[in-house]
Symmetry: C2
Subunit: 362 residues, 2 copies
């Protein structure tokens, strides 16, 4: 069987290790496992969502309203855009996939920061596209603009705040990059964790409305992080109508579940949950900074719901594996060529457990 040539370069993506794996491999009681690896919301999700799921469980047999009428309507109101500026994805990941498949081929290249969200590369490689990276893991406007002029990429990915490092790029610098590229280059502003950055510092806050007038920019948002719906797989892209009408051609029907649709709608009706989550988060984040200072660890200042600890005297893989054996799951960044671990800021209790275990290893 002759498979498409692009498949030769693709490795199968391995997601963060699930709780079930630790339970299976080390026989640890599921209740004792602390998972701080996937940037889920440690507060769960709004009770309005869980109540709606329970109440509508019988709708599991029914396909969703594939127009996503009510969800788009609420999103449009929230962001002051129109329904036809919105595309819904199975996570914002899927919108990334649509963008990639609609624009890339084997002759194009894409530009991203040295260390950033893994799926940009995965989806580009599926199209046989070349990957260009800036020298720094931080998003530096000058580096992006220089690389843009040199390589003329078809897509520029700006992940702010950045995953898996946690740093952000100011709105003024994002606009500098956008204004430097011509209209044949699509700029993806991935705001999956934007709720956190925006709450921390107004200068880092970017909304879909900031980019709507550009004909070559798309903003990505998600319900997986601040809204606490990681397991429901709902994200969205917002852009001008021409961009959305092209991307809709790549969208399969019923790409989110009936209960995901209901969940996202309910989540948008409880912004208070999001604000409370963010408030609690920043209180707990402070403990991570204090722990690092106390133990002589370096860290990247976080604009999001996780923190990245940088090691010099220790080996991140060794620390990651020791934590794992003890039922504490974090994300080793060795595969990103960083001697670092990314830790989701959890609940008070989860964080205390992490500190206790990590302190033993330092």
């Amino acid at each position: 069987m002759q498979w498409n040539k692009t498949l030769e370069e693709i490795k199968i993506y391995e997601a963060g290790k699930p709780i079930e794996l630790v339970v299976r491999e080390f026989g640890i009681n599921p209740a004792d496992v602390v998972k701080l690896a996937s940037n889920e919301n440690p507060n769960g999700c709004s009770i309005k969502v869980t109540e709606a799921i329970a109440k509508n469980a019988h709708k599991a047999s029914l396909y969703p309203d594939d127009s996503f009428y009510e969800l788009k309507d609420l999103l449009a109101k929230k962001w002051q855009v129109n329904d036809n500026n919105i595309i819904i994805g199975c996570g914002s990941d899927q919108v990334l996939e649509f963008v990639s498949r609609a624009l890339l081929d084997e002759t194009s290249c894409v530009l991203m920061s040295k260390v950033t969200f893994a799926m940009y590369e995965v989806y580009a490689k599926q199209m046989g596209t070349k990957i260009i990276r800036t020298p720094s893991y931080q998003h530096k406007a000058d580096e992006f603009i220089e690389a843009y002029h040199k390589h003329k990429p078809k897509i520029v990915y700006i992940c702010t705040p950045n995953n898996p490092t946690g740093d952000g790029i100011k709105k003024v610098d994002v606009l500098k990059i956008i204004n430097a590229v011509d209209k044949e280059t699509m700029v993806v502003v991935d705001g999956a964790y934007m709720e956190y950055a925006g709450a921390k510092d107004e200068a880092y806050k970017i909304t879909p409305n900031d980019i709507l007038d550009y004909e070559n920019v798309i903003y990505l948002g998600t319900f997986s992080k601040a809204y606490g719906l990681g397991g429901m797989r709902v994200g969205y892209g917002i852009a001008n109508e021409q961009v959305i009408s092209q991307l809709l051609k790549m969208r399969p029907p019923f790409n989110i579940t009936t209960l995901s649709l209901i969940s996202a709608i309910e989540a948008l009706k409880d912004e208070e949950f999001v604000q409370n989550s963010i408030f609690t988060h920043f209180t707990e984040l402070k403990r991570y900074e204090e722990f690092a200072d106390k133990n002589g660890l370096k860290y990247i200042e976080s604009y999001t719901n996780f923190i990245t600890y940088l090691f010099d005297k220790h080996d991140s893989t060794k620390i990651n594996d020791e934590l794992f054996k003890n039922g504490v799951i974090v994300r080793n960044l060795a595969s990103y060529e960083m001697n670092a671990i990314r830790i989701t800021v959890g609940t008070d209790k989860q964080n205390s457990r992490l500190f206790e275990m990590l302190e033993r290893l330092l």
Copy 2:
């Protein structure tokens, strides 16, 4: 913005009209709407599933186990295959998308029956691939083999029982097609409705195990129909390990939701629900045959959970639209160039309503 050339040929897929639309457009009470348009299971799903959803609603915030360990394990036992023979999709649709993207390009063509599942064409067109169709809407082995020799398609789609017509093709004829094509052609055996065909007539029953020894055949199954999980979006492909390992390269992480995973696992533990659904279905299907005979309507003998009425004196679009205005949603097949409507066999009460409304229009 220069979009990929293949997009020029793609129209946006329009799914069956949802209940919400009828409610919005005609102000009909949702409880009075009878939707027999999307081949959902009129019995809903197993109570084990709805209970598990309600109990696990709080897991909405947690990503699923992306290895799908437990689900694959249960499927492997059910079908007597190994875990590495299985790929999970967001509906079996998504597995079709993986196959298409892994094998097709602008130089290839694909072969399918004259009238068949719309997504084969949609996914092939996304790759810029040419569509070849057999002369008949029925799957006739000789027509497939003749067209195969003439066009040497990269993929042959066998949809059995066929959607949207409802007819089936015998296992012996499916194997005739498979044995006629060489190993550079992938044969997709789409068994989305196979539970119904297999229950009706053993000669039409094909299982994944029947095709596992072929290195160029994949069987598709779904939880959307007999298992009653249309809204949860879970399907699967089963093939030899080499095929699956290639397709996994196209699978995005977390492509089904946490509650979808839980639902599919629970659904597999209640085969009695499936058997009962199928039994009730065939009792109700008989009423559709009797109604047709009584009213001088032709129909295609159904091997699945819907029936296709063929018109000569009446216009399917007119009938479809009149039913729609009265809150009865069926599927008009005019866009398939058939003067026919496809009706999902519903509950006793839903079917009576359909008969009552339709009788007025004949």
